[in-house]
Amino acid sequence: MKPNFEKGGKWEKFHTLYEGHRTIAFAPDLITKSKGAQIKDATDLKRVMITVVIAMIPALLFGILNIGHQHFIATGAEGTFLDKAIFGALSVLPILIVSYAVGLATEFTFCVIRNHPISEGYLVTGMLIALVMPPFIPLWQVALATIFAVVIGKEVFGGTGMNILNVAMTARAFLYFAYPAQISGDLVWTYLGDKTAVDGFSGATALAVAYNSSVDGTPVVEALNSHNAALGADYSFMSMFMGWIPGSIGETSTLMALIGAVILIATGVASWKIIVGGFSGAYAMGLIMNALQVNEFMAMPAHYHLVMGGLAFGVVFMATDPVSAAQTELGKWIYGILIGVLTVIIRVTNPAYPEGIMLAVLFMNVVAPLIDHYVVKANKTRRLQRATV
């Protein structure tokens, strides 16, 4: 089969596709050149990328279970663990499959046109796109967002490693502004199907509840604790930390994001500086809001910010994308902290967007090269000063 794909073979054009697939089955038989390093590290980009995918699996599995869980709460029906898992899987797997199939097809097309090797970046992006979608988003929207993100977010900049924005966040932002009805509000997070919601059920997310409480003046913690309490599904700190709340597929559980963070930090794949910076920035900004206390949302204990919405997921998996993040070590601290700070500011002060992490990450992606520019400039200045002393 191989000769057909080699130079002069009849499928020469698709050489890159063939190699891309073959190297998944077999690590290639390439050897080092005669000059330069004669040996190379056993780790390649595939292994780095699969590490990130594995780190996201706890969030994926929990997300599947939680979607079923939320459905049974909303409809008031009893459901076993298996019922919930099957229900969740039926909703999540199609989204995951569409994200990978459409994304890879787009990627392959560009690789063939440009004769680039297929890069592993989409392994991670495909999973991320699925995890930041609401559980019942129409599949054609997933497909459209994926194509938009891969083409406009990545390929126009030259492909993997060259993009400015996080590709998965680009997909979500696209949907957020193009089809807001399917990705925001109180109704998209819990699937009722042909059943009706039980009395007293509210599909509002924790962030929406918190925002509303600043409108009607009830303390946020009280409002969160009493939300759907009659149904046994409150928004207490613990429920939110565990993730038994409505939200995008993978984002609800802070615990699962932290498990992912432990994997990413232990394996050295993600920068701990960005993760720690993101959480501390959000906490610090929460404290500043507490000090201002203009409304009830601002008075909410700062640690609540860390478990609500997609902050933990965004900080751990999105902000740490090494291509779109700051790349200098000092820059990573600044970048991480500002993501946390901005997220809380957007959440608390902007009524139009209850969740701030998406915009915070995208904004900081844009700013990251500027941060790096100044860190790099400081390095150059040190070198120059040394010369003139």
Partner: protein
């Protein structure tokens, strides 16, 4: 004032196949070669002999028309048997068939009381000069320059590198004379940098006319580039020189005895080397003499030098001018089923990504030449920084070279590095880029524009 520098960043590659500290009895190599490709700065090489000529050790056989004071001498006495040229008559090798006993060109002891220019001129004409390397750029130094300092690294932290004191046994007198000569060539200092984690070896203790500094930490603590960065870094317009300890002793021998003596001790190392240890030979030796007991050398990677910065040679190839080590490891031309996913504790990796457990293993690793993956764009950030113990941002420097941005290359520190300084970056890079080649490309851009 001597300096003590402790470095944290870097990575020690612990490999199978270290040479025990003993001399091996092997048949002497019969042919020797000088290869212009060993000297990156050589621009217009000119052969000074013809096939069939007889030469002595120290007879000039090659020069660079761009810097004609410096000659490259024959390491042994014998007959020029072949002047090998490649495409477009590019000079590849000058081969010499050695006499049974080596005779030398003699010029009498060198008086170090002479002025700098005369001294440099005599050394340049003797054959020992190519040991003097210029930073920036890592090329053979120009004898007319006045370097701001001269640096000698007294230890080698490369994988399986030979023990420097063992290489220089019995050369103590020459080593001191070499340092004395170098100290006359600069108005600055001569820095001799020793391994701070061990007792100072006898040959370096009590050395005069040099400042002895101590460096400790993982590789590249022994690289002279790392040491310069922490002692007296190179800025735009600066010129500093570096000399290997072997080079210092060779210069010293010329000073005291007036001969170019290219005899050297080299280490035979690597997991596939059948007889490991040290042997005495001459610069540019044919490596076939060292392969005794190896059944199929063509299936192995024979490396002149170490596994990070060395060069592949054929089984009848020649030892590089600056190399004092031959390493043999298996070739890695095989496909591995799910090789990117399989957990392993025996594959050497700097990373701890899923399934890579080598950081838990404390012993030595067996390595081969497989690249363990295809080339990709730079994606992962922060890796290079962990193995670069200098205030340099390697990722930005590499990108500046890729985009051929001259100002950025200068400002980000290309004057401070040569190939060996980024060899660890090349090893750890999960995107498998050829970073040493890239740095040389950048240096050539700066040199010739």
């Amino acid at each position: 004032m001597s300096k003590i520098v402790k470095l944290k960043k870097g990575f020690d590659l612990k490999l199978v196949g270290k040479a025990p500290l003993e001399f091996l009895q092997v048949a002497a190599a019969t042919t020797f070669a000088i290869k212009p490709s060993d000297f990156p700065g050589i621009q217009r090489p000119k052969v000074l002999v013809n096939e069939g000529d007889t030469v002595k050790a120290g007879t000039p056989i090659l020069m660079d028309k761009a810097m004609d004071q410096v000659i490259y001498a024959s390491p042994v006495s014998g007959e020029i048997v072949e002047i090998k040229r490649g495409d477009k008559r590019k000079l590849l090798e000058i081969k010499i068939l050695a006499d049974a006993t080596v005779t030398h060109e003699k010029s009498g002891a060198l008086d170090l009381g002479q002025d700098r220019a005369t001294l440099a001129g005599k050394l340049a004409a003797s054959g020992v000069w190519p040991n003097v390397i210029q930073r920036p750029f890592g090329i053979v130094a120009n004898p007319a320059d006045n370097p701001k300092a001269i640096f000698v690294s007294g230890f080698d932290t490369h994988p399986l590198a030979p023990e420097v004191p063992f290489l220089l046994q019995g050369e103590e007198r020459y080593f001191q004379a070499g340092i004395d000569a170098l100290s006359k060539l600069t108005t600055g200092k001569v820095h001799l940098n020793v391994d701070g984690s061990k007792a100072v070896p006898a040959i370096f203790s009590g050395i005069k006319n040099a400042q002895v500094n101590q460096f400790s930490g993982p590789h590249p603590a022994g690289n002279v580039g790392t040491q310069i960065h922490h002692l007296d870094p190179i800025n735009k317009g600066d010129v500093a020189w570096t000399v290997s300890p072997y080079g210092v002793a060779q210069i010293g021998k010329f000073v005291l005895e007036g001969i170019y003596d290219a005899s050297k001790v080299i280490a035979l190392t690597g997991s596939e080397m059948s007889q490991k240890g040290y042997v005495k030979t001459y610069t540019g030796a044919n490596v076939s003499a060292f392969l005794g007991g190896i059944a199929q050398p063509e299936t192995l990677r024979i490396i002149s030098g170490n596994v990070l910065t060395g060069e592949k040679v054929e089984k009848d190839g020649y030892l590089g001018f600056y190399h004092n080590q031959v390493t043999i490891i298996p070739e890695g031309k095989y496909e591995e089923f799910l090789g990117w996913l399989k957990p392993s504790a025996t594959k050497l990796s700097f990373h701890k990504a899923i399934g890579m457990f080598s950081f838990l293993k404390s012993g030595e690793f067996k390595v081969d030449t497989n690249t363990h993956g295809e080339e990709r764009p730079f994606v992962v950030s922060g890796v290079f920084e962990k193995v670069m113990p200098m205030d340099i941002l390697p990722t930005y420097l590499f990108k500046a070279i890729v985009t051929e941005d001259f100002d950025e290359m200068e400002e980000l520190g290309l004057y401070e590095v040569i190939e060996e300084d980024v060899a660890l970056c090349e090893f750890v890079d999960p995107s498998k880029n050829e970073l040493q080649e890239l740095v040389r490309h950048g240096i050539e851009l700066l040199m010739y524009n």
